[in-house]
Protein backbone atom coordinates (compact mmCIF):
# COMPACT_ATOMS: atom_id res chain seq x y z
CA UNK A 1 0.00 0.00 0.00
CA UNK A 2 1.45 3.39 -0.87
CA UNK A 3 2.22 6.02 1.74
CA UNK A 4 -0.55 8.36 0.67
CA UNK A 5 -3.21 5.71 1.08
CA UNK A 6 -1.77 4.68 4.44
CA UNK A 7 -1.91 8.26 5.64
CA UNK A 8 -5.51 8.58 4.50
CA UNK A 9 -6.53 5.51 6.48
CA UNK A 10 -4.59 6.73 9.50
CA UNK A 11 -6.28 10.14 9.35
CA UNK A 12 -9.72 8.61 9.08
CA UNK A 13 -9.03 6.36 12.07
CA UNK A 14 -7.84 9.34 14.08
CA UNK A 15 -10.91 11.39 13.19
CA UNK A 16 -13.17 8.61 14.41
CA UNK A 17 -11.28 8.26 17.70
CA UNK A 18 -11.46 11.99 18.33
CA UNK A 19 -15.09 12.22 17.24
CA UNK A 20 -16.07 9.39 19.57
CA UNK A 21 -14.40 11.20 22.46
CA UNK A 22 -16.14 14.50 21.65
CA UNK A 23 -19.52 12.83 21.20
CA UNK A 24 -19.07 11.08 24.57
CA UNK A 25 -18.53 14.44 26.22
CA UNK A 26 -21.01 16.65 24.38
CA UNK A 27 -23.46 14.41 22.54
CA UNK A 28 -23.92 13.95 18.80
CA UNK A 29 -25.91 17.06 17.94
CA UNK A 30 -23.97 19.87 19.61
CA UNK A 31 -20.46 19.48 18.16
CA UNK A 32 -19.86 20.87 14.69
CA UNK A 33 -17.51 19.38 12.11
CA UNK A 34 -15.29 22.40 12.74
CA UNK A 35 -15.08 21.44 16.43
CA UNK A 36 -14.01 17.94 15.49
CA UNK A 37 -11.47 19.05 12.91
CA UNK A 38 -9.96 21.35 15.52
CA UNK A 39 -9.76 18.63 18.15
CA UNK A 40 -8.25 16.23 15.62
CA UNK A 41 -5.73 18.90 14.68
CA UNK A 42 -6.52 18.77 10.97
CA UNK A 43 -7.96 21.30 8.56
CA UNK A 44 -11.68 21.37 7.95
CA UNK A 45 -10.97 20.50 4.31
CA UNK A 46 -9.11 17.43 5.43
CA UNK A 47 -12.10 16.32 7.51
CA UNK A 48 -14.40 17.04 4.58
CA UNK A 49 -12.33 14.74 2.36
CA UNK A 50 -13.33 11.85 4.59
CA UNK A 51 -16.79 12.91 5.73
CA UNK A 52 -18.79 15.21 3.49
CA UNK A 53 -21.66 15.59 5.90
CA UNK A 54 -21.78 15.59 9.70
CA UNK A 55 -24.33 12.78 9.47
CA UNK A 56 -21.73 10.61 7.72
CA UNK A 57 -19.35 11.10 10.62
CA UNK A 58 -22.02 10.35 13.21
CA UNK A 59 -22.99 7.22 11.28
CA UNK A 60 -19.39 6.01 11.13
CA UNK A 61 -18.81 6.55 14.84
CA UNK A 62 -22.11 4.92 15.74
CA UNK A 63 -21.42 1.89 13.56
CA UNK A 64 -18.15 1.21 15.35
CA UNK A 65 -19.30 2.07 18.83
CA UNK A 66 -22.53 0.12 18.77
CA UNK A 67 -20.70 -2.89 17.40
CA UNK A 68 -18.20 -2.70 20.27
CA UNK A 69 -20.95 -2.41 22.87
CA UNK A 70 -23.03 -5.24 21.37
CA UNK A 71 -19.97 -7.48 21.21
CA UNK A 72 -19.09 -6.76 24.84
CA UNK A 73 -22.67 -7.44 25.96
CA UNK A 74 -22.62 -10.79 24.15
CA UNK A 75 -19.33 -11.65 25.82
CA UNK A 76 -20.54 -10.86 29.32
CA UNK A 77 -24.10 -12.18 29.01
CA UNK A 78 -23.08 -15.45 27.40
CA UNK A 79 -21.47 -16.68 30.61
CA UNK A 80 -24.36 -15.54 32.81
CA UNK A 81 -26.93 -18.27 33.40
CA UNK A 82 -29.34 -16.61 35.85
CA UNK A 83 -31.47 -13.52 35.25
CA UNK A 84 -29.62 -11.71 38.02
CA UNK A 85 -26.28 -12.38 36.36
CA UNK A 86 -27.51 -11.35 32.91
CA UNK A 87 -28.87 -8.06 34.21
CA UNK A 88 -25.61 -7.40 36.06
CA UNK A 89 -23.73 -8.23 32.86
CA UNK A 90 -25.92 -5.78 30.96
CA UNK A 91 -25.12 -2.95 33.36
CA UNK A 92 -21.44 -3.84 33.48
CA UNK A 93 -21.20 -3.82 29.70
CA UNK A 94 -22.98 -0.48 29.34
CA UNK A 95 -20.97 1.08 32.16
CA UNK A 96 -17.83 0.56 30.08
CA UNK A 97 -19.32 2.90 27.46
CA UNK A 98 -21.58 4.83 29.79
CA UNK A 99 -21.03 8.36 28.52
CA UNK A 100 -21.61 7.73 24.85
CA UNK A 101 -24.45 5.30 25.53
CA UNK A 102 -26.12 7.97 27.65
CA UNK A 103 -26.04 10.42 24.76
CA UNK A 104 -27.48 7.76 22.50
CA UNK A 105 -30.37 7.33 24.89
CA UNK A 106 -30.96 11.07 25.24
CA UNK A 107 -30.57 12.03 21.58
CA UNK A 108 -31.52 8.78 19.83
CA UNK A 109 -35.02 9.85 18.79
CA UNK A 110 -33.56 13.07 17.36
CA UNK A 111 -30.95 11.36 15.19
CA UNK A 112 -31.59 10.16 11.63
CA UNK A 113 -33.08 6.70 11.16
CA UNK A 114 -29.86 4.84 10.48
CA UNK A 115 -28.66 5.89 13.92
CA UNK A 116 -31.79 4.41 15.48
CA UNK A 117 -31.05 1.11 13.81
CA UNK A 118 -27.54 0.97 15.29
CA UNK A 119 -28.90 1.52 18.78
CA UNK A 120 -31.47 -1.18 18.30
CA UNK A 121 -28.63 -3.51 17.50
CA UNK A 122 -27.42 -3.05 21.08
CA UNK A 123 -30.84 -3.78 22.52
CA UNK A 124 -31.28 -6.83 20.27
CA UNK A 125 -27.96 -8.17 21.48
CA UNK A 126 -29.00 -8.23 25.12
CA UNK A 127 -32.77 -8.78 24.94
CA UNK A 128 -32.51 -12.44 24.00
CA UNK A 129 -30.28 -13.25 26.97
CA UNK A 130 -32.59 -11.43 29.37
CA UNK A 131 -35.72 -13.10 28.05
CA UNK A 132 -34.21 -16.57 27.93
CA UNK A 133 -32.99 -16.24 31.53
CA UNK A 134 -36.40 -14.95 32.65
CA UNK A 135 -38.18 -17.91 31.06
CA UNK A 136 -35.73 -20.34 32.64
CA UNK A 137 -36.15 -18.82 36.11
CA UNK A 138 -39.91 -18.47 35.77
CA UNK A 139 -41.21 -21.77 34.41
CA UNK A 140 -44.89 -21.21 35.15
CA UNK A 141 -46.86 -19.82 32.24
CA UNK A 142 -48.44 -16.71 33.78
CA UNK A 143 -45.30 -14.66 33.55
CA UNK A 144 -44.98 -11.17 32.07
CA UNK A 145 -44.80 -10.73 28.29
CA UNK A 146 -41.11 -10.73 27.41
CA UNK A 147 -41.13 -7.40 25.62
CA UNK A 148 -42.83 -5.72 28.60
CA UNK A 149 -40.23 -7.10 30.98
CA UNK A 150 -37.43 -5.94 28.72
CA UNK A 151 -38.90 -2.49 28.17
CA UNK A 152 -39.52 -2.04 31.90
CA UNK A 153 -35.90 -2.87 32.61
CA UNK A 154 -34.72 -0.48 29.90
CA UNK A 155 -37.04 2.26 31.13
CA UNK A 156 -35.72 1.87 34.65
CA UNK A 157 -32.02 1.87 33.80
CA UNK A 158 -32.37 4.65 31.25
CA UNK A 159 -34.10 6.83 33.85
CA UNK A 160 -31.17 6.36 36.24
CA UNK A 161 -28.75 6.92 33.40
CA UNK A 162 -30.24 10.08 31.92
CA UNK A 163 -30.56 11.68 35.36
CA UNK A 164 -27.44 10.17 36.83
CA UNK A 165 -26.32 13.38 38.49
CA UNK A 166 -29.35 13.03 40.77
CA UNK A 167 -28.48 9.50 41.82
CA UNK A 168 -24.72 9.40 42.18
CA UNK A 169 -21.65 11.56 42.70
CA UNK A 170 -19.44 9.00 40.97
CA UNK A 171 -18.64 9.04 37.25
CA UNK A 172 -20.74 5.98 36.57
CA UNK A 173 -24.24 5.45 37.91
CA UNK A 174 -24.13 1.81 36.84
CA UNK A 175 -20.87 1.02 38.60
CA UNK A 176 -22.30 2.64 41.69
CA UNK A 177 -25.83 1.25 41.61
CA UNK A 178 -25.83 -1.97 39.65
CA UNK A 179 -26.42 -4.40 42.52
CA UNK A 180 -29.17 -2.20 43.92
CA UNK A 181 -30.94 -1.88 40.56
CA UNK A 182 -30.73 -5.58 39.73
CA UNK A 183 -31.80 -6.82 43.17
CA UNK A 184 -34.72 -4.39 43.41
CA UNK A 185 -35.91 -5.15 39.90
CA UNK A 186 -35.84 -8.89 40.48
CA UNK A 187 -37.68 -8.56 43.78
CA UNK A 188 -40.28 -6.50 41.99
CA UNK A 189 -40.97 -8.95 39.18
CA UNK A 190 -40.91 -12.25 41.04
Amino acid sequence: MNKRKEKKIETRKNILIVAERIFSERGFLAPSTADIAKAAEISHGSLFAHFQKRDDLIAAVLDETTLKIAKRLHELAERSPSLEEVLLAHLKGISEYENIYRWLVIEGPLLPDYARASTLGIQSAISKYILDAYERDHPEKNYLPGSFLFNSWLGLIHHYLINRDLFTTSDSVFKDKKEFLVNSFIRMIF
Partner: protein, 81 residues
Protein backbone atom coordinates in the same frame (compact mmCIF):
# COMPACT_ATOMS: atom_id res chain seq x y z
CA UNK B 1 -12.42 -18.73 17.80
CA UNK B 2 -14.84 -15.90 17.22
CA UNK B 3 -16.90 -15.51 14.07
CA UNK B 4 -20.01 -13.49 13.35
CA UNK B 5 -22.96 -14.79 11.35
CA UNK B 6 -22.90 -13.05 7.96
CA UNK B 7 -26.70 -13.10 7.80
CA UNK B 8 -27.81 -11.80 11.21
CA UNK B 9 -24.66 -10.62 12.96
CA UNK B 10 -24.90 -13.01 15.91
CA UNK B 11 -21.52 -13.96 17.38
CA UNK B 12 -20.72 -17.66 17.03
CA UNK B 13 -18.39 -19.18 19.59
CA UNK B 14 -19.29 -22.81 20.20
CA UNK B 15 -19.98 -25.37 17.47
CA UNK B 16 -23.68 -25.52 18.34
CA UNK B 17 -24.10 -21.86 17.28
CA UNK B 18 -22.95 -22.64 13.76
CA UNK B 19 -25.25 -23.96 11.01
CA UNK B 20 -25.23 -27.78 11.11
CA UNK B 21 -22.75 -27.49 14.01
CA UNK B 22 -20.09 -26.90 11.38
CA UNK B 23 -17.50 -24.32 12.47
CA UNK B 24 -16.45 -23.79 8.87
CA UNK B 25 -19.81 -22.28 7.96
CA UNK B 26 -20.10 -18.51 8.08
CA UNK B 27 -23.77 -18.41 9.11
CA UNK B 28 -25.49 -19.43 12.33
CA UNK B 29 -27.97 -22.12 13.30
CA UNK B 30 -30.90 -19.66 13.21
CA UNK B 31 -30.13 -18.54 9.67
CA UNK B 32 -29.90 -22.08 8.33
CA UNK B 33 -32.76 -23.84 6.59
CA UNK B 34 -33.54 -27.46 7.40
CA UNK B 35 -31.39 -28.60 4.49
CA UNK B 36 -28.45 -26.60 5.87
CA UNK B 37 -28.44 -23.86 3.24
CA UNK B 38 -28.54 -20.23 4.32
CA UNK B 39 -31.99 -18.63 4.31
CA UNK B 40 -32.84 -15.95 1.77
CA UNK B 41 -33.02 -12.20 2.39
CA UNK B 42 -36.80 -12.27 2.64
CA UNK B 43 -36.78 -15.23 5.01
CA UNK B 44 -34.13 -13.54 7.18
CA UNK B 45 -36.01 -10.21 7.14
CA UNK B 46 -39.26 -11.92 8.18
CA UNK B 47 -37.56 -13.99 10.89
CA UNK B 48 -35.65 -11.12 12.43
CA UNK B 49 -38.64 -8.77 12.25
CA UNK B 50 -40.84 -11.28 14.09
CA UNK B 51 -38.09 -11.75 16.66
CA UNK B 52 -37.75 -8.04 17.24
CA UNK B 53 -41.51 -7.64 17.61
CA UNK B 54 -41.58 -10.46 20.15
CA UNK B 55 -38.58 -9.44 22.25
CA UNK B 56 -38.91 -5.67 22.10
CA UNK B 57 -42.61 -5.19 21.42
CA UNK B 58 -42.24 -2.96 18.36
CA UNK B 59 -45.02 -2.67 15.84
CA UNK B 60 -44.38 -4.24 12.45
CA UNK B 61 -43.50 -1.23 10.28
CA UNK B 62 -40.92 0.08 12.75
CA UNK B 63 -39.47 -3.38 13.33
CA UNK B 64 -39.18 -4.06 9.60
CA UNK B 65 -37.46 -0.74 9.01
CA UNK B 66 -34.97 -1.33 11.85
CA UNK B 67 -34.16 -4.84 10.67
CA UNK B 68 -33.66 -3.64 7.07
CA UNK B 69 -31.16 -1.05 8.29
CA UNK B 70 -29.36 -3.66 10.38
CA UNK B 71 -29.22 -6.14 7.51
CA UNK B 72 -27.86 -3.56 5.07
CA UNK B 73 -24.63 -3.57 7.07
CA UNK B 74 -24.15 -7.33 7.20
CA UNK B 75 -21.82 -9.17 4.83
CA UNK B 76 -24.51 -11.45 3.40
CA UNK B 77 -26.73 -8.54 2.32
CA UNK B 78 -24.41 -5.54 1.92
CA UNK B 79 -24.13 -5.73 -1.85
CA UNK B 80 -27.78 -6.28 -2.59
CA UNK B 81 -28.95 -3.94 -5.43
Amino acid sequence: MSKTCISCGMPMEKAESFAMGDVNKDYCVHCAREDGSMRSYDEALEGMTMFMMKTQGFEKVAATKAVKEMMAKLPAWKDRN
